[in-house]
Amino acid sequence: MLGRLLGHPAAPAIAVIPFSLLTMAGFYLLLRFDGTPAQQHYAPSLWPESAGIAFPAGKPALLVFLHPMCPCSRATLDELNGVLSRVPKTALPEIHLLFVRSIRNPDWNGGDLWERASGIPNAIRQWDEGGRIAVRFAARTSGATLLYGVKKDLLFQGGITGSRGHEGDNLGAERLLAALETGRRAANLTQLFGCALAIDHPQEGSR
């Protein structure tokens, strides 16, 4: 029965319509997932005293908050690598890659993202247990990138990928590069795409 139905000369022309609609709907949902930014929170405009990280002397500080299991954040690290490779050595900041780990997931040790982060020259990898540091910088999404200038003022905040987990030219990476090169504050926060960070006590330390 099914064989006869499939073999009918008109079957392909009829079948094309519903399958096309299904496929288009599927791709629309996929694009929506990839292209929907996370809700953003404003980071402190000045480096908080109780940051949990010592501010480097005479250097800007670059913080990138990462969910250790987030597959989208590979693109963030690749973009970061790309930006840093274009910055003059004298303008390079101190880089902190903060992997936010929940106390509910103590088995999050290492992993692909942690290993990939080791490829970024002179970057300091560290675990942010329960998201204590992330909370102080209002970071809620993996890939959140903050740049503080030598005067501890916020120069850049946002994401550095064009969509969820996608490499390629994007506004965030360009603005971060400009902020690093000029030492001036970037125009606006750029959109951020990634998994929500595993923060155990979101209210703690919030302004």
């Binding site: 073999g7 000369p9 392909p12 094309v16 299991m69 597959p71 929940s102 998994c195």
Partner: protein, 266 residues
């Protein structure tokens, strides 16, 4: 040698050459359909495995859920890969089949680019797919595939927030640049296809000439001795009794007269 010109005097030869040519085109299309069906059958599990390895889950804090990329890789099968394969197996050689397969192949490229988190290297799948689709030697298939690629770039550019919210992007016309490189490849593939089609027509014409020349006299266009033998054999091998008459007309010393008189009269 221009065979098309030479056979234009003989409608029977032209018709035979055309039949040979279309048989070749169909054979080629059926073979290309099969290659695409096998390729898609291989690509589906490859997509799912890639998604499982690269991005199995998406995270909301400490809890995980199935990553839409993995879901897309899995649903690609029932949504468009399996129907395309069925079409290739049940309706090979049809125009609709090759266009559906072309669209499916490009959709696989799009899912692959997504699954690999937009790795630049995975974009090469699009160019490889166009080269495979050139097996059809049908420029319309390449245009269909390229249109899907351009549409995806345009639509995703539109839905991505930079475009939606009107924030200045690095290059809002980046999709045009990508489409240009696809067209760049298309241009050379279509050029090659035209050459191949011309060669196929030559082969078809030669086959027609050879088979026609085996049974007909080139000068007079009349059936020759072999044609007569085969006609006789066919008639005598029929199940029902052969009923008919054979008339034989002969002129005495015709060859001698033909060789002397007409040559002389010029």
């Amino acid at each position: 040698m221009n065979y098309r010109f030479r056979i234009s005097d003989s409608p029977a030869l032209t018709a035979q050459a055309s039949r040979n040519f279309h048989a070749l085109v169909r054979k080629l299309a059926v073979r290309a359909d099969l290659i695409l069906a096998w390729l898609l059958a291989f690509e589906w599990p490859a997509l799912v495995i890639s998604a499982v390895v690269l991005s199995p889950f998406t995270w909301d804090g400490a809890t995980s859920s199935l990553n839409p990329h993995l879901l897309a890789a899995m649903l690609a099968g029932p949504f468009f890969i399996v129907p395309s394969i069925l079409l290739a197996l049940r309706h090979p050689g049809r125009h609709l089949t090759r266009h559906v397969l072309a669209v499916s192949q490009i959709l696989v490229s799009i899912v692959l680019i997504d699954v690999t988190n937009g790795r630049i290297e995975s974009h090469f799948h699009v160019f490889g797919s166009l080269a495979i689709l050139a097996f059809y030697r049908d420029w319309r298939v390449l245009i269909t595939a390229s249109a899907v690629t351009a549409a995806h770039h345009f639509i995703s550019g539109y839905w991505w927030p930079q475009s939606v919210y009107g924030v200045l992007t690095i290059s809002p016309w980046r999709w045009v640049e990508h489409a240009f490189w696809v067209l760049f490849e298309d241009f050379f593939l279509i050029l090659m296809n035209r050459t191949s089609i011309s060669e196929m027509w030559t082969v078809a014409t030669r086959e027609a000439q050879l088979s026609w020349g085996a049974y007909f006299d080139f000068l007079t266009g009349l059936p020759n001795r072999r044609a007569l033998h085969e006609r006789f054999e066919a008639l005598t091998n029929r199940r029902e009794a052969f009923r008919g008459a054979v008339m034989f007309i002969d002129l005495d010393r015709f060859k001698q007269a033909n060789d002397t008189g007409p040559h002389h009269w010029g």
